[in-house]
C-alpha cells in the first residue's frame, strides 16, 4: 500500500477582502485515517480549508492524489473527489433532507446504505425541511452529503460544534467508521474527540503551521497545548 500523501499543500496563502488570513501554510495529509488540523479560534483553520476548495482566493501549490488542483474552480475540485463538510453545517434549510442528499450525489450508485446505517435518525425524516431539524440532525445531513460519494479525501470542519454530548459521541462514531473508507482532514476544537480519532495532527497559529506530529503526543504535552491551543489540564482540555 502506497504511503504517498493524498493531499499536499505548499506555501498556501489566502486572503479575504484583501486581508491575509492564511500565510505560507504547508502540510500533507496521509492516505489513511484521520489527521487533525488544530489551533485557537481565528487562526485560519476554516480559511485553510476554504482556500483548498478555492472558495476564497489563494496562491500556492495544492496536490490531490498527485494532481494539481490549485488552478481549478471549486466544483471541479469536488468532482475530483474532495468531499467538504463545512463549519456550521450549511444545509439548505428550505430543501428537504432528501433534496439535500440528492443534490450532493455525484455517482451512479450513491452509498445510501452506509448513510442510513450511520444516521438512522434521518431515514424517517427524508421529506422534512432540513431547516426544521435539530443541530445534530443537520450535522448528520451535512456529513451524509459528503459520505454518499466515494471521495479521495474529506475535509470536515468542526462537526461537533454546538452539539450535546450524546450527539458528539454519535458524530465521533460516524467519523471513525467513515475513516475506514476515506482519509479525513478534521478541524476539531473538542480535544477529547481529537484524541479518540486522530492519528497525525497539524497545529496552526497566526495563519501558519507551527507544529506537526502525532495527535496524542501533542495533546499530552501540556505546555504545548496550552500555548498553541489555549487549553490546559486545568480547564479540562476540551470545550465539551
Amino acid at each position: 500500500m502506497s504511503n504517498e500523501p493524498v493531499l499536499t499543500v505548499e506555501a498556501l496563502h489566502a486572503s479575504i477582502a484583501g486581508q491575509q488570513v492564511v500565510e505560507d501554510v504547508s502540510f500533507s495529509v496521509p492516505p489513511t485515517g484521520i489527521t487533525a488540523l488544530l489551533g485557537r479560534n481565528g487562526v485560519g483553520k476554516t480559511s485553510t480549508l476554504r482556500a483548498i476548495l478555492g472558495l476564497i482566493s489563494r496562491t500556492g501549490a495544492i496536490t490531490l492524489a498527485g494532481e494539481r488542483i490549485d488552478g481549478m474552480r471549486t466544483h471541479r475540485i469536488v468532482q475530483r473527489g474532495l468531499g467538504y463538510v463545512p463549519e456550521d453545517r450549511e444545509v439548505f434549510s428550505k430543501l428537504t433532507v432528501a433534496e439535500n442528499l440528492t443534490l450532493a450525489v455525484r455517482q451512479k450508485s450513491p452509498r445510501y446504505e452506509l448513510v442510513d446505517s450511520l444516521f438512522p435518525d434521518l431515514v424517517a425524516r427524508r421529506s422534512q425541511a432540513a431547516g426544521t431539524l435539530s443541530g445534530g440532525q443537520q450535522q448528520m445531513v451535512s456529513l451524509a452529503r459528503a459520505l454518499l460519494n466515494d471521495n479521495t479525501i474529506l475535509l470536515v470542519d468542526e462537526p461537533t460544534k454546538g452539539l450535546a454530548p450524546k450527539l458528539v459521541a454519535d458524530v465521533t462514531v460516524a467519523l471513525e467508521e467513515a475513516s475506514h473508507l476515506v482519509p479525513i482532514l478534521l478541524v476539531e476544537q473538542n480535544l477529547e474527540v481529537v484524541k479518540k480519532l486522530a492519528g497525525g495532527a497539524i497545529v496552526l497559529s497566526g495563519g501558519r503551521v507551527v507544529h506537526t506530529g502525532v495527535a496524542t503526543e501533542i495533546l499530552a504535552d501540556e505546555a504545548l497545548t496550552h500555548r498553541l491551543l489555549g487549553v490546559g489540564s486545568a480547564t479540562g482540555g476540551a470545550a465539551i
Binding site: 472558495l55 466544483h75 469536488v78 428550505k94 450532493a104 455525484r106
Partner: protein, 291 residues
C-alpha cells in the same frame, strides 16, 4: 358594483402581465443578486419578432397568435441566455458592473429597435375574440384579460413544477439559499445562471407578445414602461421571492386600477406610495428574507 368587478378583473389581468416580467427579475435576483435592467429589452424583442412572424402568417387567427407566443418566448430565452453568457458571466461576482452592463444593454437595445422598427407604435391585430368582451355580473370585461390571466397562471404553475421537481430547479432553490455551498457539492452553479436567465427571458418574451395584444401595438418602449412596474413589484414582493412577486403583481395592479377609476387616474402615484409604505414597514418586502 359592475365597475368594482371590472376594476378587480382588469387589475388581476394587468397583474398577470406584470408577473410575466417580474417573475424572471425575481428569479434572477434571487440566484445571482443581479438587478437585470435588460429584462425590458428581452420583452420588447419578443414582441417585435412575435409581430414580425404574425404578420407573415394569417394575422388574426388563434394559430398565428399561438405561434407568435412561442416565437416570442423562444426569442426572449435566446436573447437572455446570450446576455448571460456574453455579458454577465465574464463579470462573475462583480455585481455593480453586472448591473451597469444590463443598463447599457437596455439603452442600446431600445436604440437598435428604434433603428429597425422606428419610434412610432405599430398597431397589431388580435384574434377577434380577444377584442370582444364577456359579461361578468354586469361588467363588460375585455377578453384579453382572460388570456393574460391564463398565461400567467400557466407560467406560475410551470415554474413551481420546474423548481420543485427537476434537478435544475433544486439547484436553483439551493443556490438562492447558499450559492457557494452548491459549488462545494461539485455543481457548476453558473449553468443554473444561464438557465434562470433563459427562463426569465422566455417569460418576458411571451409577456412582450401579450403586452402587444393588451395595448394594441408594439413599440421600442414597450419593455421599459413595464419594467419600471416589474421592479417595483419585485421589491414589494421581496427580492428573490417568486410567490412574493405573484402576490405583489396582483396587489399593485389592482390598486393601480382602483386609483385610476376612483381617484382620478392617480394609479402610478399610488404604486409609488405603496412601495414607500412597504419599504418602511417591511424593508425586505412582503415575502423577502431579512438579510
Amino acid at each position: 358594483m359592475s365597475t368594482l368587478v371590472l376594476v378587480l378583473i382588469t387589475g388581476a389581468g394587468l397583474g398577470a402581465l406584470y408577473f410575466l416580467v417580474a417573475s424572471g427579475l425575481s428569479l434572477i435576483y434571487g440566484l445571482m443578486h443581479v438587478l437585470n435592467f435588460a429584462h425590458g429589452a428581452f420583452l420588447t424583442l419578443g414582441a417585435f419578432i412575435g409581430w414580425e412572424v404574425a404578420r407573415r402568417l394569417d394575422t388574426a387567427t388563434w394559430s398565428t397568435f399561438f405561434v407568435s407566443i412561442l416565437v416570442g418566448g423562444a426569442v426572449g430565452a435566446a436573447f437572455a441566455a446570450l446576455t448571460e453568457l456574453a455579458l454577465i458571466r465574464p463579470l462573475y461576482e462583480r455585481h455593480i458592473e453586472q448591473v451597469l452592463v444590463t443598463v447599457g444593454l437596455a439603452f442600446a437595445a431600445v436604440a437598435l429597435y428604434q433603428g429597425i422598427w422606428g419610434s412610432d407604435p405599430i398597431y397589431i391585430d388580435s384574434p377577434p375574440w380577444m377584442l370582444q368582451t364577456t359579461d361578468v355580473l354586469g361588467a363588460l370585461v375585455p377578453n384579453t384579460y382572460w388570456v393574460l390571466m391564463l398565461a400567467a397562471t400557466a407560467l406560475l404553475a410551470s415554474l413551481v413544477i420546474f423548481l420543485r421537481f427537476t434537478r435544475y430547479g433544486t439547484i436553483i432553490r439551493a443556490g438562492v439559499e447558499n450559492r457557494w455551498m452548491v459549488t462545494a457539492l461539485g455543481i457548476d452553479v453558473r449553468r443554473a445562471f444561464t438557465v434562470v436567465f433563459a427562463i426569465g427571458g422566455s417569460a418576458a418574451g411571451v409577456g412582450g407578445v401579450l403586452a402587444g395584444h393588451y395595448t394594441g401595438y408594439v413599440s421600442a418602449y414597450l419593455g421599459s414602461s413595464l419594467l419600471i412596474f416589474a421592479f417595483i413589484i419585485t421589491v414589494i414582493g421581496g427580492l428573490g421571492s417568486l410567490t412574493g412577486a405573484a402576490i405583489a403583481s396582483v396587489l399593485v395592479a389592482v390598486l393601480q386600477q382602483f386609483a385610476n377609476y376612483y381617484l382620478g387616474g392617480t394609479g402610478d402615484i399610488i404604486v409609488v406610495v405603496l412601495l414607500a409604505v412597504v419599504l418602511l414597514a417591511r424593508p425586505a418586502g412582503l415575502l423577502g428574507r431579512a438579510s
